[in-house]
């Protein structure tokens, strides 16, 4: 049901685990299925220098999480923010239609992290 690339990211997920030194943690849950993802970012001068994730979810959710972390590593927050769930699915070589919503989890967790980071920045500047 999944292509080889998805299976690879499921079997050998990149950047998986906790990051105690993270600057910010983003979270997202799917309303559709109740699955959950956490993303940990290390940020230096508005650039993502470190990223890790943890996911409770199906195979597609795990693979999307893994792929997203690969895609945003080294990007500026500005660039990272523009990554959509379709981009993640495309980079994975496609997901079954029923599993497209699973890629939202990763994109939403990232957006949550960036939004939280901006709030944190502006309040520390004030």
């Amino acid at each position: 049901m999944y292509n080889d690339k998805v299976v690879d990211h499921f079997t050998n997920p990149r950047n998986v685990g906790e990051m105690p030194e993270a600057d910010i943690i983003g979270e997202a849950g799917s309303f559709k299925c109740g699955d959950t993802m956490k993303i940990y970012l290390k940020i230096e001068q508005d650039r993502i220098t470190g990223v890790k994730f943890q996911t409770f979810g199906c195979g597609a959710a795990i693979a999307s999480s893994s792929m997203l972390t690969e895609m945003v590593k080294g990007k500026t927050l500005e660039e990272a923010q523009r990554v959509t769930n379709e981009d993640v699915a495309l980079e994975l070589g496609g997901l079954p239609p029923l599993k497209m919503h699973c890629s939202n989890l990763a994109a939403d967790a990232l957006k949550d992290a960036i939004a939280k980071y901006r709030i944190k920045q502006s309040s520390s500047r004030a």
Binding site: C33, G34, T36, Q54, G57, C58, A60
Partner: protein, 389 residues
């Protein structure tokens, strides 16, 4: 460890056994007559079908004229429930359980939409329907009770004989979906006091696309289809001859082998359950003892079921799950939810169903590949609080 192929999804379907295939082959080749024909090739096939009906009846403690061959469990359930409802002059009330297969639940839902009153009986945390709950839900207008013999997801064996007794006392029809039970448990229609019982051949090493409905003598049923007079008009259409022959052969053998098979599967089942629970943070779904000999259903906390299935499949293990996304819908299993499991545990369920081909080696292999998989998925889970020591 060498990779193997281990099939642990006998609840979904089971492989056709050799004896059934051999019994079927002549009817796929030289014995092609239509059993309704008057000529000799037709009459010979008629004789074979009637023998198959006698064998099927014998295996269930029924009379041959009480057996209707169908296209499977789904059709048998439809003919029974809808047929009983339509045989009534007016509407009325029917009872079923909240853990039935969709082939029962959806028929009842449709009948509710057509003006019948339908009660969905609750179950306890093991998935059991209590006869007292049934008795309390009865109304003067109740004409049908449908409760499955054994549950397909969690393997819980329901107290059908007691429910049958209270239905019989009150003159209410009793149907049971015995698709998962036949060939796994002793099934006797008189002891169970059922009026209607559904079974399906592919669950006991028979062919797919054929089943049977036991219809107790004088049970009022309106046929769902119009056509020829086959199967006492309840299932008109030229018979699936090879299928019927295969069903009868597989059923006869399954019943003969039942005590031996049941003992063997129970031992494998209990060892499997023990090994799975030993992985920690896991719970057994379904009844601990009133349970199908081949059914194992365990929920792993912090893990999603589809991820488990995918990981197992990559190791050559075929299993199933109550997880939402495996069945195509996003809702988690209605059975696990009715049993009161939380959403997370319902999503983390794994069903392993044993059958004839399984051995101790299969159990060892599954446990060996599952332990590191569970560990890996837990460690990457956003919900895992870390190992409790």
């Amino acid at each position: 460890m060498q990779k193997r192929q281990v099939y642990l999804d006998h609840g979904a379907t089971s492989p056709l056994r050799k004896e059934a295939l051999e019994a079927m082959l002549p009817f796929l080749q030289e014995r092609y007559g239509n059993p309704s024909s008057l000529h000799s090739p037709g009459r010979k096939v008629r004789t074979a079908i009637e023998r198959a009906r006698e064998e099927t009846a014998l295996a269930l403690g029924a009379e041959p004229e009480e057996i209707i061959f169908t296209s499977g469990g789904t059709e048998a359930n439809n003919i029974a429930i809808r047929g009983a409802a339509q045989a009534r002059r007016g509407k009325g009330h029917l009872l079923t359980s909240s853990v039935e297969h969709h082939a029962v639940l959806d028929v009842c839902r449709e009948l509710a939409g057509e003006g019948f009153e339908v009660t969905l009986l609750p179950v306890d945390r093991y998935g059991l329907v209590s006869p007292e709950t049934v008795a309390r839900a009865l109304k003067p207008e109740t004409f049908l009770i449908s409760v499955m013999t054994a549950n397909n997801e969690v393997g819980t064996v329901e107290p059908v004989a007691e429910i049958g007794a209270l239905a019989r006392e009150r003159g209410i029809l009793f149907h049971t979906d015995a698709v998962q039970a036949v060939g796994q448990l002793p099934v006797d229609v008189r002891e169970m006091k059922v009026d209607l019982l559904s079974l399906s051949a592919h669950k006991f090493n028979g062919p797919k696309g054929v089943g049977a409905l036991y219809v107790r003598r004088d049970t009022p049923l309106t046929p769902l289809y119009s056509g020829g007079g086959q199967e006492r008009q309840l299932r008109p259409g030229t018979e699936n001859v090879p299928g019927i022959i295969g069903l009868a052969r597989a059923l006869t053998l399954a019943v003969e082998e039942l005590p031996e098979k049941s003992r063997r599967l129970k031992a494998l089942r209990d060892r499997l359950i023990e090994g799975l629970l030993a992985m920690g943070d896991a719970v057994l779904n379904g009844h601990p003892s009133s349970r199908l000999p081949g059914n194992v259903n365990v929920s792993f906390n912090y893990i999603e079921g589809e991820a488990l299935l995918l990981g197992l499949d990559l190791e050559g293990v075929a299993a199933s799950s109550g997880s939402a996304c495996t069945s195509g819908s996003l809702e988690p299993s209605h059975v696990l939810m009715a049993m009161g499991l939380g959403l997370q545990l319902a999503r983390g369920s794994l069903r392993l169903t044993l059958g004839r081909g399984n051995s101790d080696g299969c159990v060892d292999y599954v446990l060996a590949v599952l332990a590191p998989l569970v560990d890996r998925l837990r460690k990457m889970s956003a919900l895992y609080p870390g190992k409790q020591s």
